[in-house]
């Protein structure tokens, strides 16, 4: 907290007269009313002694904001009045003026609109965005909030007084009481002016000027640069502070869980620290300057023994406290509502994940009626909703279609894309027996309307269960492994780019024969790329070893033990990426 030394010549420094003023106007959203708003602003700026060039800039800002509400606010903007509030208050080295426009139109944050660049030629000029450009150029600062179903747009500007204020000022000089009569008279006049500067503070309303300046004799004004904490939770406090200008925010429970913290704005004129000053207990919240801030520091004893006795001050304190408590309650309710919404969204997401998983054939055994083939899938979804997929179904009594794939990215977009892929594959597999044609058609269809730029790697093929002939094609997916007893090797793949990137791609197919007892093991890179805490992936080597080890086991057991190895490797039950596998093995005829 900067506490500068008082300069020796401060006695001849006259305080700049800083005025305080607030004014309000209610209008409806129509063109004619804009004139009324301009006239109001003009008058209020005059009363607040806002320099005329600044007032002209504010008038432009106000007009453009109102024009925006009228043109784009929709029906809801006309359903409730627009309120305008202007405040002029002293600032660090001069004064500042803020104007807030509140409307119930469609939520719109003008500050989120990318700034248009100034057009270079008349031909290229679009008749758009000029209003926002004006607002940005004319206002000293801008702020937007959406609260209570209304837009609150604030713009303002500051101006320097002729006299620079020193870093620290006293409202009345303590040690200099024994001055000559003439000086005392001058001093009184000056302190009267200083008192006028603080009489806008609600706490001091109705308090006699003379009493007030005596009570505040030795109080100091502190200047805090933005980011400085004024009070820290847990600390002892002996002062009550009154915010004179700038923005202070109190963070309740900020040391604990961010999800439960509540932030409350302290408004100029309000007290901080009065609770700990009342009960003598440590500070309950972190209070931090969010902009450069001026606060009046009142010693606890002065606060209780002198200020509280002044006319109306105790009542004013109660009013201020009640106001802030109400705001804190509203804020807490608002935050709780937001958290409930988040909770709801999370449960919706969980439902989506379950629905997605239910699209995959996860039942075991997959084809209980068949003795000639065993097929088994496995999918352990990651912490995030993802886009892994696999499928296996019979086209006719002897032709089995299998596929496995991995959609790039995570989240709802990937999940929806995965659902599209599964749906299209099921249709396409019924139409053609050529896997490369499936990939070509799928690619062309997915490239249409793929605005999210998602891709999918895919391996698919048709197996003649009677002969073991397997025709397959690949689109950028990792090679499945063929396991003949203890001998494990990757399946040789035809070339093919991933699906969804560019239309008109061609794919080719290959054939092989799966002998009875041979296992085809397909997986996604969530298996091989699963990392341990040191960042080392599970790798194909890890797969090979597990497959060799379990060569003779039923395929469901192979998949389960592989998954177990991956979990042991990562040291975590919750995987970063989906872990998806599909295995099939031809069985010897039962007879």
């Amino acid at each position: 907290m900067p506490k500068g030394r008082l300069s020796p010549d401060r006695r001849v420094v006259t305080e700049p007269r800083a005025l305080s003023l607030s004014d309000e106007l209610t209008i409806s959203a129509s063109g004619v009313e804009v004139r009324r708003a301009s006239a109001w602003l003009d008058l209020a700026c005059r009363k607040g002694e806002v320099p005329s060039t600044l007032a002209e800039r504010l008038a432009l800002c106000l007009h453009e904001i109102l024009a925006n509400v009228i043109d784009h606010g929709g029906e809801s903007a006309r359903s409730a009045p627009i309120t305008l509030a202007l405040s002029v208050s002293p600032d660090r080295s001069g004064s500042k003026v803020n104007v807030t426009v509140s409307d119930s139109g469609i939520a719109f944050n003008p500050l989120s609109v990318p700034q248009i660049t100034q057009p270079k030629t008349l031909e290229k000029t679009l008749p758009r965005g000029l209003g926002l450009l004006m607002i940005r150029r004319c206002a000293g600062w801008l702020d937007y909030r959406h609260e209570g179903g209304r837009n609150h747009f604030t713009f303002g500007a500051g101006w320097e007084s002729a006299m620079k204020a020193p870093g620290i000022r006293r409202f009345h000089r303590g040690p200099d009481r024994r001055v000559a009569n003439a000086a005392a008279a001058q001093e009184r006049r000056r302190s009267d002016r200083r008192t006028a500067e603080i009489q806008w503070i609600p706490l001091f309303r109705n308090a006699g000027q003379r009493d007030l300046s005596e009570a505040l004799a030795d109080c100091e004004v502190l200047l805090l640069p933005a980011g400085t904490p004024l009070l820290r939770a847990g600390e002892a406090n002996r002062s009550v502070f009154v915010l004179l200008s700038g923005k202070l925010v109190a963070y309740l429970g900020a040391d604990g869980d961010a999800d439960t913290a509540i932030d409350i704005d302290i408004l100029p004129g309000e007290c901080i620290g009065e609770l700990s000053a009342i009960d003598g207990k440590p500070i309950s919240a972190l209070v931090r300057a969010e902009s450069d801030v001026r606060v009046l520091q009142l010693d606890r004893d002065v606060f209780w023994s002198r200020l509280m006795r002044l006319n109306g001050v105790a009542e004013n304190l109660m009013t201020t406290l009640t106001g802030r408590m109400r705001r804190a309650n509203e804020r807490a309710l608002f935050l709780q509502r937001e958290r409930l919404e988040l909770k709801h969204l999370k449960s919706e997401l969980e439902v989506a994940r379950q629905l997605q998983a239910s699209m995959l054939p996860l039942q075991r055994p997959l084809f209980p009626g068949r003795t000639d083939i065993d097929v088994c899938g496995f999918m352990e979804p990651a912490s995030k909703i993802g886009g892994d997929l696999f499928d296996a179904f019979f086209i006719d009594n002897r032709t089995l279609f299998v596929c496995i794939g991995d959609v790039s990215g995570h989240g709802i977009a990937a999940a929806l894309f995965m659902v599209r892929v599964i749906g299209l594959l099921r249709i396409l597999a019924m139409e053609t027996a050529q896997p490369e044609k499936i990939l070509e058609t799928l690619n062309d269809r997915l490239c249409i309307g793929n605005d999210a730029n998602l891709f999918v790697t895919l391996f698919c093929g048709f197996l003649d269960v009677q002969t073991g002939d397997f025709v397959y094609a690949n689109a950028g997916h990792c090679a499945p492994m063929l396991c003949r007893g203890r001998e494990v090797a990757p399946l040789p793949l035809p070339k093919g780019a991933l699906v969804g990137a560019a239309s008109g791609r061609h794919y080719s197919s290959r054939e092989c024969n799966l002998a009875i007892g041979t296992t085809l093991f397909c997986y996604t890179d969530g298996v091989t790329e699963a990392e341990n805490p040191a960042g080392i992936p599970f790798t194909e080597g890890g797969c090979l070893e597990a497959l060799r080890h379990g060569a003779e086991s039923p395929i469901a057991e192979i998949l389960d033990s592989l998954h177990e190895r991956v979990v042991i490797h990562t040291g975590s039950k919750v995987l970063v990426d989906d872990c998806t596998m599909l295995a099939l093995r031809r069985l010897a005829p039962a007879d």
């Binding site: 063109g31 004619v32 804009v34 004139r35 301009s38 060039t53 002209e56 800039r57 008038a59 432009l60 007009h63 453009e64 109102l66 024009a67 009228i70 100034q118 057009p119 270079k120 030629t121 008349l122 031909e123 000029t125 008749p127 000029l130 209003g131 450009l133 004006m134 150029r137 004319c138």
Partner: protein, 114 residues
């Protein structure tokens, strides 16, 4: 809010606007302004010295007229009072770099015909 025009010879047209070019003000003169600037004159001078307030909607009207004049090979220029709020509006939007702005009528007329 008023708008009027006079022709100087067959090449130049002077348009004088007075009042506030805000939402209601621009509404009331925009059509007339568009009609006046669509006459086949080579140079158009729009005198804004009696305009106290120029909002973005007024600037949009001026831009579309200036574009129209330019498309048929002519030129539209503005006359303003130095240091006025109109100058501030033009500068804040950068439009003073797209439409020539002059401080006196004689310069403006010369430039409009150049």
């Amino acid at each position: 809010m008023s708008i009027s025009h006079e022709d100087v010879g067959d090449k130049l047209r002077r348009i004088v606007i007075s009042g506030r070019l805000d939402l209601p003000g621009t509404d009331s003169v925009a059509d007339k302004l568009a009609a006046m600037t669509s006459a086949p004159k080579q140079g158009v001078v729009v005198d804004l010295t009696a305009v106290q307030f120029l909002a973005s909607i007024g600037i949009r009207a001026l831009i579309s007229c200036a574009k129209a004049v330019q498309q048929r090979g002519g030129k539209l220029v503005l006359v303003v009072n130095d240091g006025s709020s109109v100058v501030m509006s033009l500068e804040a939007t950068g439009v003073n770099e797209l439409i020539p702005v002059f401080r006196n009528a004689a310069d403006a007329e010369r430039a409009a015909l150049a």
